[in-house]
Symmetry: C2
Subunit: 325 residues, 2 copies
């Protein structure tokens, strides 16, 4: 299945594993790329730019296929040396970078001078248009269904994808809510050139997430997510854990960013992703968990999605129009 | 394009114009049915069961094609004679009824005894399963994008449609967020047997909505809707008018149902839909308004959607899989 996405990135299938803090490490990235999709390393999961250089080298020992590095610009409690991470990516000869969060314009000259293909992820058609104007090569548009930062406008993919495609001339990648071949065909029908999946790849054999997280994703329904930090206009879709519910209750009670911020920051990371304390932690997950029922390898998953998508197109949809009259 | 929906209902295209208070009158219903889709009269738009009988007769002077009648069970300020409306529908020999709002179980024996095909509209997979259990023939599942009653779980169609299809054995109709051929193909790919459109049909030549409403839909973006009555757990997606914003502000201030209810009830209806006071009124509209750019006839609209859908399947999607390798 070839689209502008597969041709531009040199990948076999129009499927991207998007950046995920704590999850986008070498083993998962290589497994996704070896499956013919695009794996994405998450730069800020590495403690230093030097560690990122080592992790990129580790990906290359595991795959010779294209992969990307994600660099997310968000407000953080302590300053992040973004330029140093960016320069580490460039120095390693990485060919594809996914940016997210704030507008990446300050980094575009360096990235483009290095010949890097830049995919910017955003949550509104307005931001997508802005990204095109500053020279990104593709946009990954994240619907309200998505895990993590949803933005504040709450526009689901069914509307957001065609709205973005209509406004842009560069390729659009559909993100948020995708996990199977049905979704891939829907995205392509809506005008996207492929899909970006986070939660679905988090729930694979090669994902470094703790088994408790994977089993929770399999068990949970689409209704078992929650939006935290909405009161701070920094909404994030996470699993509806005890801690997430307590943070929402704090927000309803009028708590400030000084009260909420440290509680959230302290609840992410090692304890939940590596040690599996899922109820006592904050972990991002998309509504698509309601459509996830197993923990396959990345190769099984990608092949299954492509097979299902091709079957839907060649059988179900084609027969609908053949039988007219 | 034939699906379980077209075969069961005896219609040409897998497209339904869903029930819309104030809008679902004979002229629009007949225009939709004459276009090969399914028009739906809204029972409670008529002041009495007797008036509904007259309106059904009026539809029949305008079309000999199948049409439906919507009967919505919602909490209202004054009691509604639902049984009398239902019996009026049955006495007229209507073949298809769309129910919405509360569980229609009290009315199922009478409707099924009359051989009527019942389509129940709901906003969660759980309610869809319940509807199947009480014997409805099809479910119309309304995503978070939709106009009017969204429910409180906020699951968009991209997730809700396949989740419902996976749980049910009866046909699922995708509702909320649909307005063009791209959406129709997406819905079919996600497993639905067709689409239900409200806002898109409200913005046609034959729609009785005031021209000010139609022009506002054309002008507005997907971000120009608002959810009112969320604080009362009776969320309704409406145009973001001055009055809608003032009601949301009242809700933020902790206003009660006694304070808000009459303000909303008094702001709907004639003044807005017939006289065009759109800023001073409350009128339901879906996010799909961001994808609506014209005011076609129903015949032009339906044909365009089907043509676009067939083109996407036969050209874009089929070529993607032909060009693999």
């Amino acid at each position: 299945m070839h689209t502008a996405l597969t041709r531009t990135l040199g990948i076999r299938h129009p499927i991207i594993q998007g950046g995920m803090q704590w999850i986008g490490r070498a083993e998962l990235v290589a497994a996704v790329s070896n499956a013919g999709a695009l794996g994405t390393l998450t730069a800020l999961t590495q403690p230093t730019p030097e560690a990122l250089i080592d992790e990129i080298a580790r990906v290359r020992t595991l795959t010779d296929k294209p992969f990307a590095v994600n660099l997310t610009f968000l407000p953080t409690l302590k300053p992040v040396p973004y330029e140093a991470y960016r320069d580490a990516i460039i120095s390693c000869g990485v060919r594809i970078v996914e940016t997210a969060g704030n507008n990446p314009s300050a980094h575009m000259p360096a990235l483009k001078a290095a010949g890097i293909t830049v995919i910017h992820k955003c949550t509104t058609a307005r931001h997508a248009l802005k990204a095109q104007q500053i020279g990104v090569d593709m946009v990954s548009i994240d619907g309200f269904e998505c895990a993590g930062h949803t933005g504040e406008e709450d526009i689901p993919g069914l509307i957001l994808i065609p709205a973005a495609v209509a406004k842009l001339s560069i390729p659009v990648i559909a993100s948020g809510g995708f996990g199977d071949g049905k979704g891939l065909v829907a995205a392509l029908a809506l005008g996207a050139e492929g899909i970006n999946m986070g939660t679905r790849f988090m729930c694979t054999q090669e994902s470094p997430a703790h088994i408790n997280i994977k089993e929770a994703i399999v068990k949970n329904a689409e209704t078992d997510t929650a939006l935290i930090l909405r009161s701070l206009r920094n909404s994030s879709r996470v699993a509806r854990t005890q801690l997430a519910q307590s943070i929402i209750d704090m927000e309803k009670g009028g708590a400030t960013i000084q009260e909420i911020g440290p509680k959230v920051a302290g609840a992410k990371g090692r304890a939940v992703y590596e040690e599996g304390d899922i109820e006592g932690g904050i972990w991002t997950v998309g509504m698509v968990q309601g459509l996830i029922h197993d923990i396959p390898t990345c190769a099984q998953l990608v092949q299954r999605i492509v097979d299902e998508a091709e079957h839907i197109i060649a059988q179900r949809l084609t027969r609908l129009i053949d039988s007219k009259g």
